[in-house]
Symmetry: C2
């Protein structure tokens, strides 16, 4: 059986793009993978690790006969990338992306890929990791993970089906959501926790006597702040790209802290316990897959 895809082009061969390439090749779903990137060193590493078969460029030779193009750069670089590739994409090339935010990526596509909107299917693989870069890529990154597609009204049914098939070939569980809803949900469950974790470590880091604080930080602190070791530029871009939804979530959270602050001031034990108890009940139910 011939592979489902002929030539795949991956723009940005880091964790997301490199793992997509490896997974499709491992599944026998791609006959050729071509990589595009800003850093020659990264592309060479991707070549030597077998993530890609060859290095391409943002030109007709690379893109004109591409079956499927994945944009896997930081979201901040996508508008420029779309603009650069627009003239060179083939008539049949289907484009998807791996960005953590969708509203901004879609706005960029409407601006820079207006003629290709039917074949641009936005996607968000939920498979981040603290480590990034080509060295962290692996064929099973998406196995059993969720990928959210946020199709556009303009999308061709065939393009949508092909993008869905590609992610399923990677082993992912594919969901669909409206872009706005996607951005709100991920602002709440991903972007805000990252911001909160960075904020806690930053607050302590700025103290003259920080060493004594960190010396006694234990496993709870370790878990809570694990995501504060994430990539600063990437998360800056995500927070800015999704700032409207994130500001809404941040304000709701600030309201929660105000409530708890007041309860502490007033020594309102019942109010504090009610917050903690509901959180624990729901957190445990979620962990056990019993949340409804």
């Amino acid at each position: 059986m011939a592979p489902a895809f002929g030539k795949i082009v991956v723009c940005g061969v880091g964790l997301i793009g490199g793992s997509f390439a490896l997974a499709l090749k491992a599944a026998g779903a791609a006959s050729q993978v071509c990589g595009i990137g800003r850093s020659r060193a990264t592309l060479d590493e991707a070549l030597s690790r077998g993530l890609i078969d060859r290095v391409g460029a943002c030109d007709a030779a690379t893109l004109g006969d591409a079956d499927l193009v994945l944009l896997a750069t930081p979201v901040g670089q996508m508008p420029q990338l779309m603009q650069a590739m627009a003239p060179h994409l083939g008539e049949r090339s289907v484009v998807t992306d791996g960005g953590s935010t969708k509203g901004d990526v879609i706005a960029a596509a409407r601006r820079f890929l207006p003629r290709q909107l039917g074949r641009f299917v936005p996607a968000h693989p939920i498979a981040g990791a603290e480590n990034s870069g080509a060295a962290a890529a692996r064929a099973d990154l998406y196995a059993g993970r969720k990928v959210v597609l946020t199709p556009l009204p303009e999308n061709d049914a065939d393009a949508l089906a092909r993008v869905r098939a590609a992610w399923i070939a990677c082993g992912a569980e594919v969901h669909e959501m409206a872009p706005d809803r996607h951005d709100q949900v991920f602002a709440a469950v991903s972007h805000l926790p990252h911001l909160l974790s960075f904020a806690l470590v930053h607050e302590l880091a700025g103290r003259e006597d920080r060493e004594e604080f960190f010396r006694f930080a234990a496993s709870g602190f370790r878990d809570f702040t694990r995501i504060a070791a994430s990539h600063p530029e990437m998360w800056r871009d995500i927070c800015l790209a999704n700032r409207t939804a994130l500001l809404g979530e941040l304000e709701r959270y600030q309201g929660q802290l105000e409530t708890l602050h007041r309860a502490l001031l007033e020594q309102d034990a019942a109010a504090i316990e009610a917050v903690f108890a509901e959180a624990r009940t729901v957190r445990r139910a979620w962990d056990e897959g019993k949340l409804s």
Copy 2:
């Protein structure tokens, strides 16, 4: 060689008290362990698991000849416990505790154990866990963990040495701090993160459409909210017991969030990245033991 301690009395045979008993017995440092508690079922479980040798009560028979007494109940119950045991403690009984907060425990000791202050040495073993109760107790809970002693000016040198020796026999690394400083440090690195984690889950838990949010929550959320599965009453007590320090830390954190809120509103990419980058640098250094 005779054990370092004759009779040990553990008040509250949960994770902290039960593990202390097991560790001392495993080290051959106690000849007899007697348990006191409010729940007969818990005491029976502690007996059947060998955490304690027998069940005692808050009376002269149990406490009069005790070498070492550990208060291992939730901190909210300690004042009442101290009051109940005060008339029965022996002249040579040394008392310590396992509370996560020290200012309130010391205040209770000054009120209810005024004649025993020389032999009451406050302690905080840094060995929490999501699970609590006698069933979670284990002999190696304290191995390699930190225990902070916050000695009182009134403490006998001998009592301090004996409490130190007991925790060292449990395998712990013993530190000393002033009580106020202890409470500030733990408000920052433990109590505040718990409050923040509970608050995030609670905020989402109250939404009608919460299921969709939790469905897409991934590993970052899982780590960040692990401590939101902690014991609600225990953490309510800790937050109230240490409310002055916790309010100070919470207000500093709210200030951080204000700064990030403003930076997001103003799309100040440099300010956001500066916060995230410093947090990541310090978090990684801490993880690698290179923080100075």
